[in-house]
């Protein structure tokens, strides 16, 4: 399944791919305020594969949503490739996502009435690209994720693993500079999960794409260049793991230390 990546390298930039400065996020439930993120300050350089772990409800997905521009922080600033997105209009964020960000969801989020091929091509379609321009790229990507025998099927006829591959391919079709993955292996089997992680690793290694992966799985987390831990809405900065030799047991040790 794993071949050389078929798509071109995204243009590199001297700015960090993602930066957050004192970002907080508070939700209002009736008359209560629930702080979910507190003073998150992060810098993710271009091409880094950052994994983030934390218990349920610690704010991982919320942070991911903020970084994707799907939501706005209560306070603080977020920058993508040196450009602040805090206070951007919805339209500006939409176009930014189209050009620079690929999102991989835990629950796939495929459009049920489009075929596999159409689901993957969707970002190109809505960007107004002509099919003859991206046709080859699409075919190569389909082949790369290993879904070529299902391209005319609808999502209802796919397994979880197949759907996640489609979701990944859709996130990659526009060659985004940044890939945000929210527990991509959460709903698939071990074998498929391993394949997905290898795909993501390739994206970072060969193409220099910046990847932020949120996960519960220590094995997946260990794939990252850097592992962050989120607890009670804050980054446990003294527990960050860095380097290629990060192993599962290091992850477990940190989790234990943090009492997660």
């Amino acid at each position: 399944m794993l071949n050389t990546s078929p798509y071109t390298t995204p243009v590199s930039s001297p700015n960090p791919a993602l930066t957050t400065r004192d970002v907080t996020k508070t939700f209002n439930l009736g008359d209560r305020e629930i702080p979910v993120l507190r003073d998150i300050s992060l810098e993710i350089p271009q091409g880094e594969f950052l994994t983030m772990m934390g218990p349920s409800g610690c704010g991982k997905s919320t942070l991911l949503n903020l970084l994707a521009g799907l939501d706005q922080p209560t306070t603080g600033e977020i920058q993508i490739d040196g450009q602040s997105i805090t206070g951007c209009s919805r339209r500006q964020m939409t176009l930014l996502r189209r050009e620079k960000i690929g999102i991989i969801f835990q629950f796939f989020n495929l459009l049920p009435h489009l075929t596999v091929r159409e689901n993957i091509a969707l970002p190109m379609l809505i960007a107004g690209e002509r099919s003859d321009e991206y046709h080859q790229k699409l075919d190569d990507l389909i082949s790369w994720v290993g879904i070529e025998d299902r391209i005319d099927h609808f999502p209802a006829h796919l397994s979880g693993g197949e759907m996640q591959r489609v979701s990944i391919a859709r996130a990659l079709i526009n060659t985004p500079a940044i890939i945000l993955a929210d527990e991509p292996t959460g709903n698939v089997g071990t074998r498929v999960g391993e394949d997905i992680m290898r795909l993501l690793r390739l994206c970072a290694d060969e193409k220099g794409q910046t990847i932020l992966l949120v996960t519960h799985n220590p094995k997946d987390a260990a794939q990252g260049d850097r592992v962050l831990f989120l607890k009670d809405g804050m980054v446990a900065s003294d527990s960050t793991l860095i380097g290629n030799d990060v192993h599962e047991r290091h992850i477990f040790d940190c989790l234990q230390k943090l009492g997660i």
């Binding site: 949503n65 994707a68 799907l70 939501d71 919805r90 339209r91 939409t94 176009l95 996502r97 189209r98 050009e99 999102i103 969801f105 629950f107 796939f108 989020n109 459009l111 049920p112 009435h113 489009l114 159409e118 969707l122 970002p123 379609l125 809505i126 960007a127 107004g128 099919s131 209802a156 859709r170 526009n174 709903n187």
Partner: protein, 836 residues
């Protein structure tokens, strides 16, 4: 654009059952409205063409009290010198029997030959050339008459009871337009010569006017000396007055109501369908689709649905019209045989635009709302259905549109179409306000509509235990969706109650009138005969006396003159003072429709234009007992003593051609009818007994109103489609719940019962609301029709039809649940539980 069309098209195909249901709603509503307006247009055109064929197409007619030659020249001078009259020509019509070649009944029409091109009502061309009727005793016959009697150019034809010599046949012409009168047996003679020859046989001379600009009846009436009456020609009034107008108005109201209900159903279906796709919208935004692109997708979907529905509806409506015409129906029931097939382009275009706009509006506001929802919430579908589709502001806008926008649009459209709008405004605005009230109750007060549901469900709680628990909890969380169903049912069946009460009141009014005017009578028509001849009718066994009914004047309302003998029967016979007053002084009786139309009663007076000038004539009684005529659909007229009428209006009374035979109480109408035929076979051209007419009126009303029943059935079908749609959405929302229940051991039959129970309680609640709003709506419709028709319609709530509507609401709603229940069982349990 490719992406937009691809996604829109795919979505329609993916949700095919919903798409088909929504398209059906548009199509059915459109078909009903198109069918109604097309059938009505063709009914009207048939009536008008009949009148145009019989009586030509002048802009106005002037009828003098006197018809001698001198006054004709004077009249023509006056008319032709009027600045607003482009052309004036005299005519007369008379039925006469020929002497040679054979005793045949022929209609003689006196014309000015050079006026034929102006008025287009007769055709004096033969062998490719114009024929000239010289001012001599010359005649141009229709080919049908000539062929029938073996006549040709150069022959002569003479007439009975006329002292002058024969008329020479100088030409044969086609049976075109007024050449079709008298079954095509027509002869055209020079007006002046004919007036002198047949003066005694001519009932009235008419002057046809072609006007320049907007010369009105009143303006011309004031310009003429006394003794002339200006009337609107029959072809203009055909179908636009009296009972005909009432039927047509009611028919069109029914069609519009069906269209509105269909469009409302579509509007709600599209609104709520969008609400269930919030997650899809969030996803599209997450991957970079702008709001404009998302809006475009849904607009394209709505546009495709609307376009397909409108086209199918248009074709279906035209097909429905063809079918109804084939089976003898018209917008006036079975009494008119429609022979035209024309498309009323303006009306159809407006209906199509309305259909497209309503379908598009169904997506506009929910799309607007989706922009305000956070993408994260949309992706996680946190309680979004309520937020997206339900908005108090949307329904407040709809309510304001109903209260202000609908009446304003109606006035605007009526002005555009050149039809009077004031009489109908009461009906339109009253109905709109009532619908606004229903929408307020159902959509702005979810607690109230929820309360209705709980009340409706309560009786079943003992028999449907688990269904009751599961369904009422669901309903409490799905107030918007339930409100859509409730609103649909309540609107449809309130409309059914309203329409049915309208037809019942029309029927009751016809029956009331018929009871008084038709019993123990025979009505017959003959060629013009003298008093000596028609007095022979009095000799028929069983006949008390006969009354000539031919003496009429338009003053400016219709007045009929009856001989003194007529008033010895009926209500006037019981009041000697009134009897004497009517015979000895200028006074009149008026029918109930007349009294209602003009807002008068006994003791009031009416202004008339007599031969001597304006006068005020007192009304001594309101009664329908006198003066019914078998060839008139307008029952609004006054009755005077013939002697008084002769004096006031110079009415010619030497001949008559319509008679009413008043029978003894114990006489059998059919026997007398047969006897009359035996005695006067050669003379009677038309005869009907009062009983036949009464049966025709009563049964005919039922048959005539078949098309209303059809409309009611269509609205019921629309209600069913609307409820099916919303129940389908409900089953989609509850997919995980049903899958879980199946995993826990619920059987398919039990699942069916849950869905059907929801349909049942919605039906009960909807039916109850239908009664609550249907009763005042029915009153508004009947009251509005009173104003439109000038008929004294009575209003009585009909418990039978209220019960039928309530039961139908339950039936439709329950049956509408069958398909959604079946769909529920098709979804695999594991798939439903597995993913979001």
């Amino acid at each position: 654009m490719n992406a937009i069309f691809l996604i829109a098209f795919r979505n329609l195909v993916y949700r095919s059952s919903r798409s088909i249901l929504t398209i059906s709603g548009v199509a059915i509503g459109m078909a009903a409205a198109v069918g109604v307006f097309t059938l009505d247009y063709n009914t009207l055109m048939t009536l008008k063409f009949q009148e145009m064929g019989q009586y030509g197409t002048p802009d106005l007619e002037v009828i003098p009290d006197v018809k001698d030659s001198t006054s004709t020249i004077q009249t023509l001078n006056i008319l032709r010198s009027h600045p607003a009259i482009a052309r004036a020509t005299p005519l007369f019509f008379t039925s006469i029997t020929t002497l040679q070649p054979a005793a045949a009944s022929i209609e003689l029409i006196g014309v000015e030959p050079d006026a034929s091109d102006w008025f287009g009502a007769y055709y004096l061309r033969g062998n490719g050339e114009n024929m000239t009727l010289e001012d001599q005793q010359t005649i141009i016959l229709t080919k049908k008459f000539a062929q029938h009697y073996g006549l040709s150019i150069g022959d002569s034809i003479s007439f009975m009871d006329v002292s002058t010599g024969p008329y020479h046949i100088i030409g044969l012409t086609s049976n075109w337009k007024i050449g079709r009168r008298n079954n095509g047996f027509v002869g055209f003679i020079p007006f002046r010569v004919g007036l002198q020859t047949f003066q005694e046989k001519i009932q009235s001379v008419r002057y046809w006017i072609k006007r320049k600009g907007d010369l009105t009846v009143d303006a011309l009436q004031h310009a003429l000396p006394y003794g002339y009456r200006v009337v609107i020609p029959d072809y203009i009034l055909a179908g636009e007055v009296g009972d005909d107008k009432v039927m047509r108005d009611g028919f069109r109201v029914g069609g519009l109501l069906t269209l509105i209900l269909g469009l409302y159903m579509v509007f709600t279906s599209l609104s709520i369908a969008l609400a269930e796709r919030v997650k899809e919208i969030g996803l599209m935004q997450a991957i970079g689709t702008t709001n404009r692109q998302i809006s475009a997708i849904f607009v394209v979907e709505a546009g495709i649905i609307a376009l397909i529905g409108v086209i199918i509806g248009l074709l279906g409506g035209i097909g429905l019209t063809m079918l109804l015409i084939k089976f003898g129906y018209s917008s006036l029931g079975l009494s008119i045989r429609v022979w035209t097939f024309l498309i009323p382009k303006m009306h159809i275009t407006l209906i199509m635009i309305l259909g497209l706009v309503a379908a598009m509006l169904g997506v506009v506001y929910p799309l607007f709302k989706t922009r305000q929802i956070s993408i994260v919430d949309a992706l996680q579908q946190r309680g979004l259905h309520q937020k997206v589709a339900y908005s108090r502001r949307l329904y407040i806008v709809i309510i304001l549109l109903l209260i202000i926008g609908v009446p304003s649009s109606f006035i605007f459209l009526a002005e555009m179409l050149g039809t009077p709008w004031l009489p109908a405004l009461h009906l339109v605005s009253g109905s709109s306000i009532l619908f606004a009230g229903l929408i307020s109750l159902v959509f702005l007060s979810p607690k109230i509509s929820g309360g209705f549901i709980r009340l409706a469900a309560w009786p079943g709680s003992h028999f449907f235990r688990y269904e009751h628990v599961l369904t009422t909890r669901t309903v409490a969380h799905a107030t918007e969706r339930i409100a859509m169903s409730l609103g649909t049912l309540a609107l449809v069946f309130a409309g059914v109650i309203g329409l049915k009460h309208m037809t019942l009141s029309l029927k009751a009014q016809s029956q009331d009138w018929a009871e008084e005017a038709l019993r123990q009578r025979i009505f017959l028509s003959t060629p013009l005969i003298t008093p000596e001849e028609y007095h022979l009718f009095n000799s028929l066994p069983g006949v008390k006396f006969s009354i000539p009914m031919s003496y009429t004047a338009f003053v400016p309302f219709l007045v009929r003159g009856l001989p003194e003998r007529a008033f010895r029967e009926g209500p006037l016979s019981k009041d000697l003072d009134q009897y004497n007053t009517l015979l000895q002084t200028p006074s009149m009786l008026v029918t109930s429709q007349f009294a209602y139309r003009y807002g008068v009663s006994a003791g009031d007076s009416m202004d008339v234009i007599s031969s001597e000038g304006p006068q005020r004539i007192p009304i001594i009684q309101v009664t329908d007992a006198y003066g019914y005529f078998i060839d008139s659909s307008d029952r609004g007229y006054a009755v005077m003593a013939l002697d008084q009428m002769r004096t006031l209006f110079s009415v010619e009374t030497a001949h008559a051609n319509q008679f009413s035979l008043i029978l003894e109480d114990e006489a059998d109408e059919n026997e007398v009818r047969n006897e009359a035929f035996g005695w006067f076979a050669g003379k009677i051209t038309d005869i009907i007994t009062g009983e036949q007419k009464y049966a025709w009126v009563v049964k005919g009303v039922d048959d005539d109103f078949f098309v209303f029943e059809l409309l009611l059935a269509i609205t019921g079908l629309l209600a069913g489609i609307g409820v099916t749609n919303t129940l389908l959405i409900g089953t989609l929302e509850r997919r995980r719940e049903f899958a879980l229940l199946q995993a826990l051991g619920i059987t398919p039959v039990q699942l069916y019962r849950i869905v059907l129970f929801e349909g049942l309680i919605i039906g009960i609640a909807g039916g109850s609301l239908a009664i609550l709003f249907g009763l005042p709506l029915s009153w508004i419709i009947v009251d509005g029709l009173r104003l439109l028709s000038d008929l004294p319609l009575s209003y009585t709530p009909d418990l039978t039809w209220i019960g039928i509507s309530f039961t139908a609401s339950i039936f439709v709603s329950t049956v509408a649940g069958i398909y959604p229940a079946w769909k529920t069982l098709q979804a695999p349990v594991t798939e439903s539980i597995k993913y979001e």
